[in-house]
Amino acid sequence: MIARLTRHPAVVPIGAVVLAILIGAVVILLAGLNPIDAYAAVLQGSLDVRNLDYTFSVWGFICGMGLVAAIPLRMGEFNLGGNGQLVLGGVTAYVVASQLGLPGIIAVPFALIAAMLVSGGFAAVSAPLATRFGIPIIISTLLLSPVAVAVASYLVRFPLAEKGSGNAQTPVLPEDAHIWSLGDLRYTTVGLPLMVAVMVIFYVVDSRSAVGFELRVTGANRRFGEYAGLKPGRLAIGAMGSAGAVAGLVGAIIVLSSPYRFIDGALISPGYTFAGLAAALLAGGRPALVPVTAILFTILQVGGASMERTAEVPRQLSDVLQGVVIVILALRVVLDRRRAGAGKDS
């Protein structure tokens, strides 16, 4: 018990990353390719100055989806419904921005806020499902997510579809409803500072506010929280609602950015949700660490494409590495429990 505390808490997460990279190298070697070339291509592709614009925008999205997992993780709950919450936010933002005919200065804020409300409300449903009906949040989020994705997919293919296009996509949004770019950057928009602001808010609320403290207590020992009079049900509504709102915000920013339309599958296929979940787990849910661990997954995500081009290693290797990191972290949870079980009172 105590021996574990004396060990530095960063040992396991860093070990997990190193191990994942080594396992990845073995996989590349087995495929008869050169792992050093592959990893060099990953770094080059993601950190090249010409690509930084894109890299930063991806980092913002992964940070956002990191929070979507990290906020409920503070109270010990797993939100695996990021995809559904993300897509619902995207569709909502598209509808508000395109159908209401709002003038530019308010179209974007309205679309963002509406997306946050809808996704937040959708995610919050999982809280009463857990408190009232005993369906664990990890299960209900996982199962409700494809429903939301399917609904969005239907909307994009039929009522909102672009006429005459063979693709499952909406028409382009009016100019007024495009989210503001930062200078003449192509990918990075106002969305990035928004994401940074959300992370700062999460950090401050987590460490300084009564609600943040109550979330952490509930995550550390739920019975202790209940004994002290905390209400885990209400905390879960707040945590899931905020997580969903952040997912909705990410979805809205993506839809309101270039190419300014909702394309079926475009929000899910880059894998921001899973990368964010991995970043949150690697950070142990700690608000200050999520942006740091998100860097790693951003590099993998962005660099994966250039690795495929230059080193001929399929980009799916990025997913393999993410998967290995998660498995190792999950193993730690199991081992910790086992060790805690063998520990002593003092």
């Binding site: 009564a210 403290f213 019975r223 202790f224 002290a228 009079g229 002593k344 009172d345 003092s346």
Partner: protein, 515 residues
């Protein structure tokens, strides 16, 4: 015949800034009952964890049967002939006694567990050591005493020649204690070396042959039991003579702060509490005696609101809170020191400051209840408040950031008590407030409780230590099988009468009823 079964030489182990063991030497002679005593935080648990391979020493030697050993895990210690019965049992509730006993070392036939052989093994061991058990019983249905016998059988099944018992009497009834001591003596006569970790002086005098006393991580005294006295042991444990705090007598009674009217609690279709009524007034300590598991804990949970009642009413300060959530009851004037301090009374991974702050975090000085800044906490205020409480309650720690889980049991309990007393609630429920706490700290905790009563508040004290109830309570109610079976006024209460009622002597207790 060599005399030493185990020899520990110059064992040292530190955790962060705390030196838990500082050059401890311990010689366990074969076939003796060796008591290891000390206050909480004195290093007993660490030393035993080292001996059993749970913790590795920074330096020092472990010699078993004349051979130096280095235990990587308890499996190595078991292989060397050690067995340990932990304070918190490690059994599978849903499995039978025999399955639990042979687990990890099963007799097999053709690759399958030989249940008949397992039963026979359990029966023969039970008979040899006088451990009364039914091999077919489900462990979940057993009393604490019976579970402990299963733990002892488990160690004996693996041929333990050195048996470590960690606070074995904490959960036992007086008669179970007597039979445990018979088992211990019989095992020692058979050549088993028994290590008894305890802080109960009477037990040491009753059953041990030798005593080693630890204080602040060092050996502060070695005695042959026959040649020592309880005063000498207390001196070695605490370095001073402990004043026995006695109840200075009933103060003036004020208004009623708690009324429980005909409350029943049903859990998993079993009636845990049956039609219990009681009241606590300002200025009195009402004791509830009873062997663990007779409904006291369920009653406390019902008053706190973590368990629903199936019948009856609960009033705090005159307000009916029967269906109210925990928060409403706490703000109506309730504080609780829970029995399970690790599972319910603290978050072991969180810091002392955070543990002390919970429930106070929305009130000044930490929180701001209204106006600008509502809902925010002042971390500097929380730290200052924590360090004040650490010094006022004499919590031994390396700092207010230390996780509560790395404190010794007694110090962790002080954190819980400090937090709950700070609510200044008209009613305090103190459930086993000194369980697993050393003599010096017991005195301090008892003093705090008496002060709390003297300040005009009421206390409901749940304890299975009769001496504690006699020392503190103005009235003692005895719970047995979910009911209050006897009530004694301070003047009529005696260890014998309370003990008889606790053991379920309902007929005898009926005569003592004074309603």
């Amino acid at each position: 015949m060599s005399t030493a079964a185990v020899e520990l030489r110059a064992i040292s182990r530190r955790f962060d800034a705390v030196v838990a063991n500082d050059g401890i030497d311990l010689v366990l002679a074969r076939g003796t009952v060796h008591a290891v005593m000390g206050e909480n935080g004195a290093g007993k648990s660490t030393l035993m964890s080292i001996l059993f391979g749970l913790v590795r020493p920074d330096s020092g030697e472990i010699i078993v049967d004349g051979e130096a050993r280095s235990f990587q895990s308890p499996l190595d210690a078991i292989a060397a002939g050690l067995g340990m019965v932990h304070q918190h049992f490690r059994l599978f509730d849903s499995m039978t006694v025999a399955e639990n006993v042979v687990f990890g070392a099963e007799p097999t036939r053709g690759g399958r567990i030989d249940r008949a052989a397992a039963d026979a093994r359990v029966r023969s061991l039970a008979e040899r050591y006088g451990l009364d058990t039914d091999p077919q019983a489900r462990v979940g249905d057993l009393s604490a005493g019976a579970r402990q016998r299963v733990e002892i059988l488990k160690a004996l099944h693996r041929d333990a020649r050195i048996l470590i018992l960690d606070e074995p009497t904490a959960v036992l009834t007086p008669s179970e204690v007597t039979s445990l001591f018979t088992v211990i003596r019989r095992a020692a006569e058979g050549g088993t070396t028994v290590v008894l970790v305890t802080h109960k002086i009477q037990e040491v005098l009753d059953v041990s042959t030798e005593v080693t006393v630890l204080r602040d991580g060092r050996v502060s005294g070695r005695f042959v039991t026959a040649d020592t006295t309880s005063a000498e042991l207390v001196r070695a444990m605490t370095g001073r003579e402990v004043e026995v705090v006695a109840n200075p007598g009933t103060g003036t009674l004020g208004e009623t702060v708690l009324e429980v009217e005909g409350v029943s609690v049903v859990d998993a279709r079993v009636e845990r509490v049956s039609n219990v009524s009681l009241a606590v007034r300002r200025g009195e300590i009402v004791g509830i005696a009873g062997v663990s598991g007779n409904g006291q804990h369920d009653l406390v949970a019902a008053i706190l609101g973590t368990t629903p009642v199936s019948a009856g009413r609960i009033l705090l300060g005159g307000d009916d809170v029967t269906g109210a959530p925990v928060a409403a009851r706490r703000s109506a004037g309730l504080a609780v020191i829970p029995e399970d301090r690790r599972g319910e009374g603290s978050a072991v991974t969180m810091s002392i400051t955070e543990n002390l702050s919970l429930g106070h975090h929305r009130q000044p000085p930490i929180g701001r209840p209204k106006g600008f800044g509502r809902g925010w906490m002042s971390l500097p205020a929380a730290r200052t408040r924590a360090s004040e409480q650490i010094s006022s309650y004499d919590i031994r720690t390396s700092g207010e950031k230390q996780p509560v889980g790395s404190l010794s049991g007694g110090n962790a309990q002080k954190v819980v008590i400090a937090r709950e007393l700070a609510f200044d609630a008209p009613l305090l429920i103190a459930e086993q407030p000194t369980q697993g706490v050393d003599v010096g700290a017991i005195e301090a905790i008892h003093g705090r409780l008496l002060d709390y009563r003297a300040s005009g508040r009421g206390i409901l004290l749940v304890s299975h230590e009769i001496s504690e109830l006699l020392a503190l309570a103005d009235r003692v109610l005895v719970m047995f099988a979910g009911e209050i079976v006897a009530e004694f006024d301070r003047s009529q209460a005696s260890a014998e009468r309370i003990g008889a009622a606790m053991a379920g002597a309902a007929a005898a207790a009926g005569e003592e009823w004074t309603a």
